[in-house]
Structures are given as structure tokens and as C-alpha cells.
Subunit: 178 residues, 2 copies
DNA sequence: CGGAAAGTTCAATCTTTTTTGAACAATCTC
DNA sequence: GAGATTGTTCAAAAAAGATTGAACTTTCCG
């Protein structure tokens, strides 16, 4: 018969059934939007920007239920997103005595954030490709046409120079961001 | 030693219908793969990595038909990809006398490549968000709870500091990469 | 133990991005 | 001008990526 849920009669009482947290205000939305945009620049999904943004502008540590309700995000998404950000070092677990829930605070040291990002993204690529470079050099050396061989050797040499440049640049960046 | 059977039957390749260019050899494939991986790190589609990679390891300027055949890429994709890379400044048009086709050579100055990338990606974001910051400050100032207001003002202040840091860092980066 | 609370997992779904291919436009050649 | 060559456009298909939600595990507590 009537499969619709029972209509909430307590209109006067602000705390509706299942609503525990305040909706985002103008300021919070603005800050979150900024982090969403940053996430976009970095190629991260929107939801990660929302999660970090909320943590960033929240005076108190955030937790799963709050995040689901205030950002209107599914539990699955929020759970995975929080984990990703924790693994990335962008959110730090915070222990709250007598509370079983997992709370998170944002890492706000730019140096740490950038460092983690580079370690996560760039380093694997650098390692893979510096490994591949040796093999590539052999293949260039095996080229028959002398002109083409020389050209290839030069270009692959330059690839190595680029990699080296990036590798030496990373520690420098870390120092600058202190 | 070499356990593979000595198959060396490939002499004069039969000129197949519609096949004008040599297939990629081991070396070319390796270099292209490296740029595909780099494109991935930067969040660009695979095809852009392939296109730039082929241009990078080709002694001669590349053109549409060659790219389609050697990379097994549709004409549409190749056309759009070449355009995107040209707009980005990663590929430079080359005039070849007496040939109506559009040829391209790669930009190989790292400083230029990085500079274009940042201008394309980061700058729009920085402009948008430095515009939004003023508004955000107002909203923080309008917060009722004194503690929360103070907290928000501090965090938004820090956002501004981050932006400034990035902005001053970009010219420095350009100088380092000279 | 039984139930509630918190969090995880993952197949299905939805969304966005990328690629294809055929039609079209522009330009050259004879 | 007719035909060939080169490149562009864009609607549709395919692929990749993100999100949902419901079932499940674990832990806590009386």
C-alpha cells in the first residue's frame, strides 16, 4: 500500500530526524570550492577537494558521519576519500578520548603536503623511467643508420638530463617551501 | 645463449596496400612509452604523450598521415591532439618547402615546456582564487561565534599566504630551469 | 549473547573524458 | 572545373573514472 516513509510531523523542532549537523554556510562553501578547484588542477577527484576543504575550514576534527551529511556524499565515497587523503598524508587521524569514531585533521604545512604529493606521484614515474633509460640506450646503440643512431643517442641523453634535473630539483623545492 | 629459432626470413617487405611508413621499432616504442607515462603524471590523455613522444624521437618533422598510421590513431584524434600540443607550445609547426602538409617538431627546451604548462594550468586557477579570497574574508568576518570567526580568519589568511608563495615561486622556477 | 554503532568493500550505476569515423571544407593540380 | 590531397569538425561510441548503496565485518556495551 503506502510505501512512502512516515511524514515528519515535528516541523517546529529544528533538529529533524537523522539531521545532526548544520548545513554548510557561505564561508565554508567558498573555502571548499577553492579546494575543489585546486584538486581539479592537480587531477584529483572533486570529492577529495571537498573532504580536505571541509577539514581545512572546520575548527573541530571531522569524521565520517559529519562528512556524509554536510557534503551530501555517500558513506562509501566518504570512507574511501578519507582513506585516500590519509594515505596521502593530507589528513591526519586524531584520537578523541571516549569516542570510537575516526576523526581527522588536515595537514596544513605546505612543505609536507607538497612533499607527499611529489613522493606519491612523481617519484614512481621517475624511478620507472630511470630504470627504462638504460634499456633505451642499448636500443639506440643498436640502430643501423648512423645518422639516426646519433640522433637517437642525443635525444635519449637529453631525456636522462631532464630526469636528473627534476630529481635534483625536488630537494631544492622542499627547502624553498620551508 | 639464444634459444629462439633463427628466423630471418624478413627480406624485402611486401608493400602492403595503404602502408607507407615503417612500424615503430623497439626504441621508438620505448621512448613513446616514457612520454605516455609522463603525460599520465601530468593528467594528459595518453594520445598526447604518444604524439609528443613520436615527435621527440623522430629525426624528421612528423605530420598527420604518418602519425595516424604509425601510432594507429584515428585521423580525428591525431588532428585534435596535434592542435592541442601546438596550442600548448609543445609542438612547433615547421614549414617544408613544396609540401602542403603540416609538419611539426617538438619544443625541447624544458624551461619553455614547463613555462607553458604552468601558464596553461596553474595561472587560471591562481587568478580565480585570488579573486575569490577577498569575498571569503568578508564571509569569515561575518561569522557570529568569536572563536570560530578567529579560526576562519586565520585559515583564510593562510590560504592567501599559500597563494602568494606559489605566485612568487613560479618566476623562480623559470630561472632555475634556464 | 544480541543489538547498535562505525567503518569497509565492491558490484552496479552514473558521469565525464577520450576516441572514432564519416561528412565536410579548403587547397592544390592538371 | 573535376579530382585528388590535406586537414577539421562533431555526433556517436567506447573507455575510464567516480559515486552510490546495500551487504558485510568489527568492535563496543549491557
Amino acid at each position: 500500500m503506502d510505501s512512502s516513509p512516515p511524514i515528519e510531523a515535528t516541523v517546529a523542532a529544528p533538529p529533524l530526524e537523522g539531521v545532526e549537523f548544520l548545513p554548510l554556510d557561505e564561508c565554508e562553501r567558498g573555502v571548499i570550492e577553492m579546494f575543489v578547484s585546486a584538486a581539479d588542477v592537480l587531477g584529483f577527484p572533486r570529492s577529495l577537494g571537498e573532504l580536505y576543504g571541509l577539514a581545512y575550514i572546520s575548527p573541530q576534527p571531522i569524521h565520517l558521519a559529519e562528512v556524509c551529511e554536510r557534503l551530501k556524499m555517500s558513506k562509501g565515497s566518504a570512507s574511501q576519500g578519507l582513506r585516500t587523503l590519509r594515505d596521502l598524508g593530507a589528513l591526519k587521524p586524531v584520537y578523541v578520548a571516549g569516542d570510537r569514531r575516526d576523526f581527522f585533521q588536515p595537514e596544513i604545512k605546505m612543505r609536507v603536503l607538497v612533499g607527499r604529493l611529489l613522493a606519491e606521484r612523481l617519484r614512481p614515474h621517475l624511478e620507472r623511467s630511470s630504470g627504462a633509460l638504460g634499456q633505451l640506450k642499448n636500443e639506440a646503440d643498436a640502430t643501423v643508420t648512423p645518422q639516426v643512431k646519433k640522433f637517437r643517442q642525443e635525444r635519449i641523453e637529453m631525456l636522462g638530463a631532464w630526469q636528473k634535473r627534476i630529481s635534483t630539483f625536488l630537494p631544492l623545492l622542499q627547502r624553498i617551501l620551508r
